[in-house]
């Protein structure tokens, strides 16, 4: 039952992302949803993936996102519409709960007894799936170069907010 509470808080985080007026609350929503995503993954037994998500997503990417939105957002942002966000979240969650009511009764879904589910398949990623890592790394290199070329701007010296 607590598991569904975690998933609902995940939904609250995503509602906050897309419905809030100011990007600061959207970043807060990202933090909430990634945190509860990690909690959901941990309760399913996938602890390594949760750790990975927390470190890289929240510890790296989200910090950069918050800094760059602080650099580029409005100087006097609008006060948020938190009441409307919570109302939308409640409407969405009640809608989903009414559709999937039979689904919620069953309790045979989760395999909480083997916490090494992800580690045993992670080793395959490095063994037989080495080509995936290589191609993924090359794709990320392309993304880096694309991001740098697009944001080159008019300043030839540094990447600044001008």
């Amino acid at each position: 039952m607590v598991f569904y509470l975690f998933m609902l808080l995940l939904l609250l985080g995503s509602t906050l992302v897309f419905y809030s007026l100011s990007p600061y609350y959207a970043a807060l929503g990202l933090m909430i949803s990634s945190l509860f995503g990690c909690v959901v993954l941990t309760s399913l037994g996938l602890t390594f993936l949760a750790l990975l998500l927390l470190l890289i997503y929240m510890g790296g990417m989200l910090v950069v996102f918050v800094y760059s939105s602080a650099l580029s957002a409005d100087r006097y942002p609008m006060v948020s519409n938190l009441g409307e966000v919570v109302l939308l979240f409640l409407l969405l969650s009640f809608w989903v709960l009414f559709i999937f009511e039979d689904f919620l009764e069953s309790s045979t879904l989760f395999n909480l007894l083997s916490p090494l589910n992800d580690l045993s398949s992670l080793s395959v990623l490095y063994d037989y799936g080495g080509a995936y890592l290589l191609v993924g790394g090359l794709a990320l290199l392309v993304v880096l170069i694309v991001a740098l070329v697009v944001s080159y701007g008019s300043s030839l010296l540094a990447l600044r907010a001008s």
Partner: protein, 347 residues
């Protein structure tokens, strides 16, 4: 843009499309589609003009959304059929989601609204990449899915595409928008054959790509951005004649090569007893033939009042890299009808 960066981005574009074509697993397919989308963004927006940047942004949003939808359908297929294999689409819902994503990527109706907007904001060389090269990967996926599951959604979307391609291009003055609507119409003809014999669709698609590339390269050479510049353009007279022939071939007039794109689908439909959909295709292609003839008319069939020294051009800037490519592609439009017996291997 820096030459090395340009070469790197073009290489990763080709790598992305090849990754889609050569893989059996849904994840590299999604990766290849995203890679090809990302690597052309700087190629489209390197001139910082607002029209190009707006077109790039629209293109990126549409392609990223449809790639995410494709991955969603692939993961749904994984849940239902326990397999990441491309050849194991077992449930109709995952097939529908993946097909919807590919229809958005290709620009078939009813998801065609982004395509003329994007094409009309880009210079012609970028238009070639968007309209010809970027269609290879999603068309390949759509045709390989049609080998497994035949669904009538393809017929509905292709009939809508042909009609939209015809009516949409009627009141346009921008050559890029006209070619965008003609592209929508042609993709409608090509994908309808995929319901019956997908192998034939591959060949029709190749033929259409070569024809379209030739026309877009000629437009790039002469900077033919609007209908008003068609009569004033500074091309070698033989290019004007070949441009008119290539356009009439795209419209599907019989002795020219583009007639293959029309006669093979009609043969396939009537051999399968599906005569009901033929009038829709004929109406759509007739309307699109009107605006092809309008371009031909403005190019070489009328003489607008102008200074007589402009009529024959002795000095042209046509010693460019695209001229031999045009010269290689144009004979297909003239002699292409001789390739008709190849298609009878499949029927």
């Amino acid at each position: 843009m820096n030459r090395l960066v340009n070469a790197f981005l073009l290489t990763s574009l080709i790598a992305g499309t090849s990754l889609v074509i050569f893989s059996n697993h849904w994840f590299p397919i999604w990766l290849g589609l995203e890679l090809s989308t990302l690597s052309i963004i700087p190629l489209l927006s390197y001139t910082s003009q607002s029209r190009s940047v707006e077109a790039t942004l629209k293109y990126f949003l549409v392609q990223a959304f449809s790639a995410a939808l494709l991955l969603n359908g692939a993961v749904l297929n994984l849940w239902i059929s326990n397999s990441w294999d491309v050849n194991s689409i077992t449930s109709p819902i995952s097939y529908f989601i993946i097909t919807a994503a590919l229809i958005i990527k290709l620009g078939l109706a009813p998801c065609h609204f982004w395509f003329p907007d994007v094409l009309s904001g880009l210079p012609f060389l970028s238009t070639i990449i968007i309209a010809c090269w970027q269609k290879i990967a999603p068309m390949f996926l759509l045709l390989s899915l049609s080998n497994l599951v035949s669904s009538e959604i393809i017929i509905v979307c292709s009939i809508l595409s042909v009609l939209v391609g015809g009516w949409g291009g009627l009141n346009q003055i921008s050559v890029r928008k006209i070619l965008a609507y003609s592209s929508i119409g042609h993709l409608g003809w090509i994908t309808c054959v995929a319901f019956f014999i997908p192998e034939v669709s591959y060949l029709l698609f190749l033929f259409y790509i070569l024809n379209n590339t030739a026309i877009l390269l000629i437009c790039h050479n002469g900077s033919l951005y609007y209908l008003s510049s068609l009569s004033k353009s500074n091309v070698v007279p033989i290019t004007a004649i070949l441009f008119s022939i290539a356009l009439l071939s795209l419209g599907g007039l019989p002795p020219l090569g583009g007639f293959i794109n029309k006669v093979i689908p009609l043969i396939v439909f009537s051999l399968n007893g599906n005569n009901f959909i033929i009038p829709f295709f004929l109406i759509g292609s007739l309307i699109s033939l009107f605006f092809y003839i309008r371009i031909v008319f403005n190019t070489s069939l009328t003489l607008f009042p102008q200074h007589s020294l402009n009529i024959v051009s002795f000095r042209t800037g046509n010693s460019s890299l695209s001229q031999p490519i045009i010269s290689t592609l144009i004979p297909i439009t003239i002699w292409g009808l001789l390739l008709l017996p190849i298609f009878f291997l499949f029927i």
